[in-house]
């Protein structure tokens, strides 16, 4: 992969130029779909963009000391890592060089969650602290399943390289892993029934209660980019191998869109679960499923 291709991937597609409008679009699709399913009219198409611009034009509350500096830094780190995760997705056919791997992608996907936890605790707000504690518990619960699903996919396909995974056809075990990742996505994206960290009716916005203006805009953007990265990861793993770049890009976008709709249906059809029910769900039900996937993947690998 030459420098121009690398830059085009990081900056244009599926990098920033694609990712930022896609983040706003996915946020709009989710809000609109949930609203329509609940019998409301929902926001207009440009609403996420208008929200972003409006927040960017507002002033931020004064923050002093190292705590204030950290509070300013968390949303920026979250946006950078989520944008990096999107840029790593091997949407276009590989042409050599470093294509990124699953471990780096997972690390980048996990950073926004860590930033949210840290931001809530740095804010000193009781709502922020409760939200952060919930996010931490949720993160520990779903990440075990998420990581085991990724490991099972990697073990079944004998590689951690994203490009290599994208070039291989999906096996039944890989579909099992994709299903496990899908179960984790509502928790990762703070959607119902796992929207505990930002439970509006209970703790306002949870960890980001104390944020306003451009900092809040960055959190919103980071959330949108997480949508693109998380749905993009599943789309990459589930998409069929295509030789032409435009067909690959089209299938990727279509799969992401379908996933957003599916998650919206789940969000609209369910109510928020309590934290102990959520933990029990991931540790008792889904973990067994993920362990089975990994065990069968390892078994098949040693057998081969």
């Amino acid at each position: 992969m030459n420098l121009i291709t690398a830059l085009a991937r990081l900056l244009i597609f599926p990098g920033l130029v694609f990712a930022v409008p896609a983040a706003w679009f996915f946020l709009w699709v989710e809000r609109k779909a949930v609203a329509r399913m609940q019998g409301r009219i929902g926001p207009p198409f440009m609403q996420p963009f208008f929200d972003f611009v409006k927040l960017m034009g507002k002033s931020t509350p004064p923050r002093n000391g190292i705590g204030g500096l950290l509070m300013r830094a968390w949303p920026l780190i979250a946006v950078s890592s989520a944008a990096g995760a999107v840029g790593l997705l091997p949407v276009l056919p590989a042409s050599g060089g470093f294509q990124g791997d699953l471990i780096l992608l997972l690390a980048l996907l996990e950073l926004p969650s860590m930033c949210i936890i840290a931001a809530g605790f740095s804010s000193g707000s009781i709502f922020g602290e409760i939200g952060s504690a919930r996010e931490a518990v949720l993160s520990v619960s779903y990440n075990i399943v998420f990581l085991l699903a990724i490991v099972s996919i990697a073990a079944s396909q004998h590689t951690f390289s994203l490009a290599a995974l994208a070039q291989q056809s999906a096996s039944p075990l890989r579909w099992l892993g994709i299903l496990a990742i899908l179960v984790c996505l509502p928790a990762k994206l703070h959607l119902n029934p796992f929207s505990l960290p930002n439970a509006e009716q209970e703790i306002y916005s949870g960890p980001i209660t104390e944020y306003a203006g451009p900092e809040l805009a960055m959190w919103e953007l980071s959330h949108g980019l997480e949508w693109v990265a998380a749905t993009g990861l599943v789309a990459t793993l589930a998409a069929p191998v295509l030789a032409t770049w435009w067909a690959a890009a089209l299938v990727f976008v279509a799969l992401c869109f379908g996933l957003v709709l599916l998650l919206s249906v789940v969000a609209a059809a369910t109510a928020r679960l309590q934290i102990d029910t959520t933990v029990r769900f991931y540790w008792q039900c889904t973990l067994i499923f993920a362990v089975l996937a990994v065990a069968s993947a390892l078994f098949m690998r040693f057998r081969a």
């Binding site: 399913m37 609940q38 009219i41 207009p44 609209a268 059809a269």
Partner: protein, 143 residues
């Protein structure tokens, strides 16, 4: 499964909300903005007493009074209209207008107090003072 069929019917059905700035169609009984008729008001300030949202202010002056109304604080409960014995208050039967600045819809009226004409002192009829009669309780009140 019932929830899914409900979501499906909602998805293809007509939404129950409107996109801003469309306004809903309301009936005649709708309680909208409070309107004030200074010609009818006697300045009793009962409306102010009855307003729990503190949307109505009343300042009494010498020979006049100022009545003001802030729709931003109003809950449109209609207690002021119900309590106005002079029928100086009424409510619009349409949605309140959209406003973008705080206090944009606030209205204030300074009204001169009506001069009350005292009835001329009528000549007292020459009636003899009643003799002191011991109070006799009514039969119903006796035990």
């Amino acid at each position: 499964m019932r929830i899914l069929s409900m979501l499906w019917s909602n998805l293809w059905g007509r939404p129950r909300t409107l996109l801003f700035p469309k306004r809903p169609v309301v009936t005649e009984r709708f309680r909208g903005l409070v309107r004030f008729d200074p010609a009818l008001c006697s300045g009793c300030a009962i409306c102010k007493m009855r307003c729990t949202a503190k949307a109505i202010e009343f300042k009494a002056g010498k020979g006049e009074f100022t009545w003001s109304y802030e729709p931003g604080q109003c809950t449109f409960c209609g207690r002021c209209v119900e309590g106005c014995k002079d029928h100086a208050l009424s409510q619009d039967s349409e949605c309140p207008p959209i406003y973008t600045a705080i206090g944009e819809l606030k209205t204030a009226y300074t009204v001169a107090r009506k001069t009350t004409v005292k009835p001329a002192a009528a000549p007292q009829p020459a009636v003899a003072a009643p003799a002191a009669v011991p109070a006799i309780p009514a039969s119903g009140e006796t035990e």
